[in-house]
Symmetry: C2
Amino acid sequence: MGRNKEFDTTLVLHKAMEVFGYYGYEGTSLQHLLDGLGIARQSLYDTYGTKRDLFISALKHYVTAKSDSVISYLENSDSVRQGITGVFHEGAFILKDENRRKECFIIYSAFDRIPHDTEVAEFITKDLKRLEEVFYETLVRGQSQGEISHRQELRALACYLNYARHSMTQLAKITSDPKVLDDYVKITLSSLDK
Amino acid sequence: MGRNKEFDTTLVLHKAMEVFGYYGYEGTSLQHLLDGLGIARQSLYDTYGTKRDLFISALKHYVTAKSDSVISYLENSDSVRQGITGVFHEGAFILKDENRRKECFIIYSAFDRIPHDTEVAEFITKDLKRLEEVFYETLVRGQSQGEISHRQELRALACYLNYARHSMTQLAKITSDPKVLDDYVKITLSSLDK
DNA sequence: ATCATTCCGGACCATTCAGTCTATAAAATG
DNA sequence: CATTTTATAGACTGAATGGTCCGGAATGAT
């Protein structure tokens, strides 16, 4: 009983990603959020709690969705090279979309918070580890399938690919030239060819 | 005539890099600066102007010094591969130094400011272009000297190396494991071997 | 000695901040 | 109708913000 929520809470969460991604965590004022989310102040506090609570909710929602997508790419592709290539092309594809790219930048607001918010730090660290592990296992499978040379140091390569994927988002923040992004992906992927 | 300045203005500028790098531009309060720089409030305003003025001064000082060093490495090494390798190893070396690494992170506070401060945006963009150009010319020289394969697309490769160098700083912000940094450099440099 | 400059601490300013509270209206359920 | 939940707008708070101004002391050059 009682009145129903009138706004889609996860849709508002996506808007929050954009706001935090644009202004950064410290640079985001409550007014920015109210304008960006299109809800009243009290609704924000009732639904999400404090500004920090909202930030963490938005961040977790973004990161887990992204990581799940990456992992699905890697684990559900028969060809390991196709899986890894798919991850990077998918990432670049989103970053080239004028609308969808905006929310991605919340991850960099989160990186900025690492030294000042242990919950953010632990969450990010755990997710990075989780992803690196999947990259590693995928590469191992690639070696056994003969797609990846046995000369490769898989641990270092997994780590590199993992960070390179994040760097791609950073790169998109500086330039919006799609060709730059594509070239970056191409050269990054050439590290598989040793 | 008159009393002399009692603090080394460029040394204080380096401290400002650290403060801004740690808290971010928005996250840095005047109190943080006063504590970090060790000078009185009025001295700060007399010497550097507003908080934003100080930020831009610190940023420009950092970026130009760094870029000049990179360019010097690239232009003054007979072997092109040694020059490029030198740039990355030097970068990693600084990022592994507990003290010297701190001031490097001002560059990411600057990236965050790009959408909100045109002067910062223009300065960063210009510096990125300048560096990419030197990378490109160096690679051209490398091809003519037979150090770089003629199959390489030099423009894309220059762009990649330029951004990869910046990503290295980002990487250092997330992890302080020196091995991760070294592996990252190693794999990045392997892109020269196509 | 005079004057200019820098130093410092603290007072002071208007503004903005995140967050709370109140009041009232609108739905949905019983 | 009564109850419960949500929605909105606006007033409000205490604290912190960046920035300015003042007063007095120290230092250096003429």
